[in-house]
Amino acid sequence: MCTSSLLLILIPKGADLVLNVNSIEKLKTRFLKPKLVLLYSIIPFIILIFVFSYVPLFGWVFSFFDYRPGMPLEKQQFVGLYNFALAFDKFSGFYNALRNTIVLNVLGLIASPLPIAFAIMLAEIKQKRLSKFIQIVTSLPNFISWILVYSVFFAFFGNEGFVNSVLGNLGLITNHINLLGDVNAAWYFQTLVGIWKTLGWNAIIYIAAMSGIDQELYSAAEVDGAGRFAKIRHITIPGILPTYIVLLLLAVSNMLSNSFEQYFVFRNQLTISKLDVLDIFIYTKGIGAGQFGFATAVGMMKSVVSIGLLMFVNKLSKWVRGDSII
């Protein structure tokens, strides 16, 4: 109260100043409304998201420069679309990486109905405890890191691994098998690795989808004399189909992305021509070889095409299903 009286004395009479006691109170209620306090409280998080997710987007500008780290942008040499043109050059390795990426993703798409089959089979197990046990064990590989996945496959297919030692000892194998270094088997081997890791967990997602099917349909079908297979064909599969289509469309929109970790840990000199995917290519050229401008350009094209794919797939979904994905 004292301060405000002091203020009143200091303010010249008749002056058109805003600052007096009533105004301060009005400002307080205007800017400290509970709603706005709510907003202020999340400003730190908005800034956090901005810094880690939006600020990097400004880095796309590096693709137009022959970027050398350490120098400010003004001193960098502007090269226009050179980095982009370089990608489409025969010898840049870009086409190889693109081919590998798409092939591996297509193989993954071909394998995508497997979790559905697994889920349906699991649902046919009548003993609850066994079914739970299978669920837990088969979904476990999804939660270990790719390095550990590599350890597992190394323990099995490595030179001193299970296949070469145990099966060799039993006489089932005469020559050393080196699947990890087999360039011709690389694509299929990696697809199998991916299946091993994700089948159990993806099946759980479909089991969750199956629980959304109206159980009355099954009872009605039984009354109509439908056997086990008929029920699966006419009720279960159509019931899960929407979920599958959504996941399929999302997978298509991710056609240019691969699990960086998977191909990083499994790559070696022998298989690199088949396993160098776009994400690894960007890493090798960028952080590895220091071609920052080029790697940024490739990454930028990848992001833009991916967003385009997502929007296309979204429209497709609206057209086919009547509902969009995002």
Partner: protein
């Protein structure tokens, strides 16, 4: 009315059980095999004598490994990032999700879109790398904690859950004059335990398994994570003969650390045991999380 089991049914049941159990074995046996290898005599294992039982079982490789400084440092770093990183993520994400679930928040729609867009738009590795470096997060423990503090996926999960809580709780608290933080910590959080548990576990497993940030931006040995150390162990060269003899002959003088298969298996076990122990117990929370997330998709 009980349906008679036809032979077709029984046939299907048998095949079904066999196939499912076979795949289950394929998921379980590898871990058991790695464990056997780690406690067996290396030579016997490489000859294929280790299948269901160890040969000359001893835990010496564990003792050797767990007394090495790099392993202990890495285990400490991984444990730290799991505890600290998960706490930060859960706290920040759940608070932001709560605020986004209230009705009063101004600009709510825009802010929510702002958060969700980050799931679909990615700047790419190089811009991200340069940004992190400019922020001083190279060789900095905060790299493991800050970038993952807000997860769009978690926001969706938690927000969906909180939107289904009865509004009366909030309203009566507000009438009593409670501020935002009081409402959040004393009322909303305690009744959101199921979804918080799910997010905590997802986040903890992510932190424990994480090593890419390590690869890109950390070259200080003391800040290495256990997973990254495992990667280095697995990629170290292997001596098929006597390691000490080869070292003495200077054949491996300049090579990176030479590790036997047994040691690699032991290191793998050390890294995977926490997951093996925690996952079966926590599995039901994962399923709950998926169910809750599936609502919004």
């Amino acid at each position: 009315m009980k349906m008679k089991l036809s032979s077709k049914d029984i046939g299907f049941d048998v095949v079904n059980h066999v196939v499912l159990l076979l795949f289950t074995a394929i998921c379980l046996y590898p871990f058991y095999y790695i464990f056997l290898y780690s406690i067996s005599d290396g030579l016997a294992a490489s000859k294929g004598l280790v299948v269901f039982w160890p040969v000359n079982a001893d835990f010496s490789s564990y003792v050797k490994l767990l007394s090495k400084k790099d392993v202990l440092d890495a285990a400490f770093i991984s444990a730290s990032r799991t505890v600290i990183g998960t706490s930060v993520t859960v706290l920040c994400s759940s608070y932001l999700a709560y605020v986004l679930s209230t009705e009063d928040l101004p600009f709510k729609k825009i802010i929510y879109r702002y958060v969700i867009i980050t799931m679909y738009v990615s700047a790419g590795l190089i811009p991200w790398y340069i940004t992190m470096k400019s922020l001083g997060l190279k060789n900095n423990f905060l790299l493991y904690v800050l970038p993952s503090a807000i997860g769009a996926f978690y926001i969706i999960l938690i927000k969906t859950y909180m939107e289904q809580l009865p509004k009366s709780l909030e309203e009566s608290a507000k009438i009593d004059g409670a501020g935002v933080f009081t409402i959040f910590f004393k009322i909303i959080l305690p009744i959101s335990i199921p979804i918080i548990a799910t997010v905590t576990i997802f986040s903890a497993i992510y932190q424990w398994n994480s090593w890419q940030d390590n690869l890109y931006l950390v070259n200080k040995k003391e800040l290495s994570t256990l997973q990254f150390l495992l990667y280095n162990y697995m990629n170290s060269s292997m001596a098929t003969g006597d390691v000490t003899r080869m070292k003495a002959m200077n054949m491996v003088a300049n090579a990176k650390q030479v590790n036997s298969m047994t040691l690699k298996m032991t290191m793998s076990m050390v890294t995977v045991i926490p997951i093996l122990l925690v996952y079966p117990i926590m599995q039901k929370y994962f399923i709950k999380g998926i169910m809750l997330g599936a609502v919004k998709g």
